[in-house]
């Protein structure tokens, strides 16, 4: 460590690590470069596209808007924790069943926003679903199937 670096401890999807990074690093880059967590994508770096979304201490946030030191000691959950290929979460299953994505770049934000919504609301209205997903840009599907998928996920049980 020198004057321009800092030490950051994180638990990422259950794995704890301490890394040394430049002080101007944002959390998205710590997760990708230091923890190899490519389930968090680097998109616009402007807080618009939502693809760097992760849960930080349970809060659904855009990690491009968080300086690394702010997250020191935090527990981070990415979509890698949602389910496995054999046992996807209900939201993941619903997104597949409803063809709610094509390239998959927006999925981290879409899936986590949907999980957070369903944790609050068992049976959200379409307006609530659209509102919850509105921090995520998708350039493939036009959102209609994503809304349908969240509605479907509300009907499914894990």
């Amino acid at each position: 460590m020198n004057d321009e670096t800092l030490s950051v401890e994180l638990e990422v999807d259950g794995r704890t690590g301490v890394v040394t990074v430049e002080q101007d690093t944002t959390l998205v880059d710590v997760l990708r470069e230091e923890f190899g967590s490519t389930a968090v994508r680097a998109g616009c770096r402007n807080g618009d596209c939502g693809t760097c979304t992760a849960l930080v201490d349970g809060r659904c946030v855009k990690t491009c808007l968080v300086l690394a030191g702010r997250a020191d000691g935090a527990s981070v959950t990415t979509i890698a924790s949602l389910g496995t290929a054999e046992h996807p979460s209900r939201v993941q299953r619903a997104f597949m069943e409803e063809y709610a994505f094509q390239c998959g770049f927006c999925l981290p934000g879409m899936l986590l926003a949907a999980e957070v919504l369903l944790a609050r609301e068992d049976d959200p209205s379409d307006a609530q679903i659209r509102d919850a997903l509105s921090g995520n840009l998708c350039r493939c599907t036009g959102y209609v199937n994503a809304v349908r998928a969240v509605r479907r996920a509300a009907e499914l049980r894990d």
Binding site: T5, N46, G50, C60, V61, L67, G69, R70, D72, V116
Partner: protein
């Protein structure tokens, strides 16, 4: 090589001290609140401070009900306000505002009212609503603290009342028995507002996004929608040309023409809410 140093103070006192030390070393500090505006500007190199003082770990994230007001810390985000029973019951204007914040669940968990106030973007959600709420701003520095009305704190477009070494520690929102309605105009879900209207009845509509600072429109007693239209139109006529707001989303003339309608919608929404 890092382009700036960072500090993550654990209290308002520590934040004030961090700012004092940066200034004593002839540095240029930047205070980061929620991070939704400042951090992208840092990433793009548009802001080039020597030191960032990040308020994220200060613990200024409480919503407290006092006898005559609700006090919110600088780090209180929109989702906390939305979830707060006190805000829902006692500050309907703020609750309506938080429910419509652009950027989805994530930005609601990150953006702060105090940060939006400091950014002082004329068209953004917070400024006009905070003026309508008679918000008082808690300003801190290492040497002193002072309280400034939001209306005075907003000195111009993207211009606030903070001096060197000062930061906003919180906001006090007086409680009243007034009916409230908040409405904003935007063309797309992910857009900044074009303009905002915050009605506090009886008596007041405050408009954002029509001038460099919020415009206070006083309504006559027992005002009707027609009265609101007339009062708004007259108020806008008296905004000096150098203070009229125009940006890439809409010019002044458009704003002037839609303002009476947006104000009436806020008025109607306020009339529909119980006192």
């Amino acid at each position: 090589m890092s382009t700036f140093r960072t500090s993550f103070p654990r209290s308002a006192d520590e934040a004030a001290d961090a700012l004092r030390r940066v200034l004593a070393a002839n540095g240029t500090p930047l205070v980061v609140g929620g991070g939704t505006l400042a951090v992208p500007s840092l990433s793009r190199g548009e802001l080039t401070p020597t030191d960032v003082v990040d308020l994220g770990r200060t613990g200024l994230d409480r919503i407290e009900l006092t006898t005559h007001a609700v006090e919110i810390g600088a780090q209180v985000n929109y989702q906390q306000l939305l979830d707060s029973p006190v805000v829902t019951a006692r500050l309907p204007l703020l609750h309506q505002l938080c429910a419509g914040i652009t950027g989805g669940i994530q930005i609601r968990h990150q953006g702060t009212v105090a940060g939006a106030l400091c950014a002082a973007r004329p068209f953004s959600d917070a400024p006009a609503a905070l003026v309508a709420l008679d918000a008082q701003v808690f300003v801190r520095s290492a040497d002193a603290s002072r309280i400034v009305p939001a209306e005075k704190f907003l000195r111009g477009a993207e211009e606030n009342d903070l001096g060197p070494g000062e930061f906003v520690a919180g906001i006090r929102l007086p409680l009243g028995e007034r009916r409230a309605g908040y409405v904003k105009l935007k063309f797309a879900e992910s857009s900044w507002p074009i303009m905002t209207a915050a009605a506090m009845l009886p008596g007041l509509v405050v408009l954002g996004g029509v001038a460099r600072v919020p415009v206070r429109v006083v309504l006559p007693p027992r005002a009707t929608a027609a009265d609101v239209r007339a009062a708004v139109a007259a108020s806008l006529e008296s905004v000096p040309s150098g203070h009229r707001w125009s940006d890439l989303r809409a010019g002044w003339d458009y704003r002037r023409r839609v303002a009476p309608e947006i104000a009436v919608r806020a008025f109607i929404r306020a009339e529909g809410t119980p006192a």
